[in-house]
Symmetry: C2
């Protein structure tokens, strides 16, 4: 029980990660746990890694596991039978996924970049949830924020123009990366992912970004590095204060 013992997760895929040197230690659900809780929590977890493009799980599969993302980016999406895809969110370090009280996953999850995650058996996690009220409160808070973000996205998908969608998207990413106006933003995901997130086609995304560049609202360095010289101007385009 010495305070200096690193809390270790079970070895998996050759990757052994100590919670106290985990990038997401202060971002993820485990941030609300005390030392003893963290010990039990991490004992229940295994770690996993995925390469970019690998699938974590598919919509409709039995929801036997839940995950906490510690590194990298994951996209969540739903498909229609003919292949039309809607990306419902991009998750980053600290985000939790797979929480399902139903029996199956309601979306698919795929790595955008290489990722690391903590992995929990569903039943084990639900037991921990009952033992740790902090944890449950934290998850409720997360669910509540995600819901607010989902509603914001419905407004975007239902009522905004292509230009407003792109402006909103860039601002959201810029705020998430906490950069100043002069620093560039890294998109990480492809045009195809952006299109499927914003309810557009890759051509429209490309054209709209080009137009914004021509107008001086943004500058592009390569395909995924974006400079936003004046966020306030972009906010005006985004149609939201």
């Amino acid at each position: 029980m010495g305070q200096s013992d690193p809390v270790m997760t079970t070895v998996c895929c050759g990757a052994q990660v100590a919670c106290d040197q985990c990038d997401a230690r202060d971002l993820a659900v485990c941030a609300v746990l005390d030392e003893d809780e963290l010990r039990r929590f991490s004992a229940a977890a295994t770690t996993a890694r995925l390469e970019a493009g690998q699938t974590l799980f598919h919509e409709g599969e039995p929801a036997d596991e839940m995950f906490s993302l510690t590194e990298g980016m994951i996209k969540l999406y739903k498909l229609l039978q003919d292949g039309r895809r809607q990306i419902t969110g991009f998750l980053v370090a600290g985000d939790f996924l797979g929480l399902a009280f139903g029996r199956t996953y309601v979306y698919s999850a795929e790595a955008v970049t290489p990722v690391r995650l903590c992995r929990f058996r569903r039943a084990v996690f639900l037991r921990l949830l009952e033992e740790m009220p902090h944890l449950e409160r934290n998850l409720l808070g997360r669910a509540s924020s995600e819901l607010a973000a989902a509603q914001e996205q419905m407004l975007l998908l239902g009522r905004k123009t292509a230009r407003e969608r792109l402006a909103t998207f860039l601002l959201t990413i810029a705020e998430r990366q906490r950069r100043t106006d002069s620093e560039p933003v890294d998109l990480l995901m492809s045009r195809s992912d952006i299109a499927d997130y914003l309810g557009l086609t890759i051509e429209t995304v490309s054209r709209t970004l080009s137009t914004m560049r021509r107008l001086g609202a943004i500058a592009l360095d390569g395909t995924s590095r974006v400079y936003i010289p004046d966020r306030e101007a972009l906010r005006t385009i985004a149609g939201v204060g």
Copy 2:
């Protein structure tokens, strides 16, 4: 403490409602409370009524109260400055609204039909939440389902055609009203509400319903009563199994 005492909520607007004769008793969050908890819970609540069209709260206002809808229908929506509106959901008896860990409401809420609700001061409700783990679990389950519904709606708004949107909408309502194929479905909300929920215009909603009627996929009685002769056929149109 006699078991036969009806649990009463505080009088408000002249409406006095006993929990044990409340329509939503088995649907709402209070369904998970034991008798003692219910007593404390209802002691913390007042009841309220709204006429159709009245606003419960506006996006951006301080989120000082939370509500449990016991009767009628409420719509949630967000606005852009120029008046474009996106309805993010229709709530019915048993649904909870106003849960916000942030300081302000992130959407507006307005009565579609006359409604009754239980009303809680935010601080009081959050205290009850800490005392009643069942309640917290129930809210987490609700938030989780709402999130799944929101993702389904993103798929609809981002990727479905007008016809698919209407078919999906009608099926969702039919399932919510738990009617058989031969019984009609009551829409309750206006074409304008349907349009703003599905990311369309009222003209497109009207035209699409007319086309579906001409094709025999639905029959209309007045403007808000819809017969669905063959749900499976509508499911095919909706583009989802």
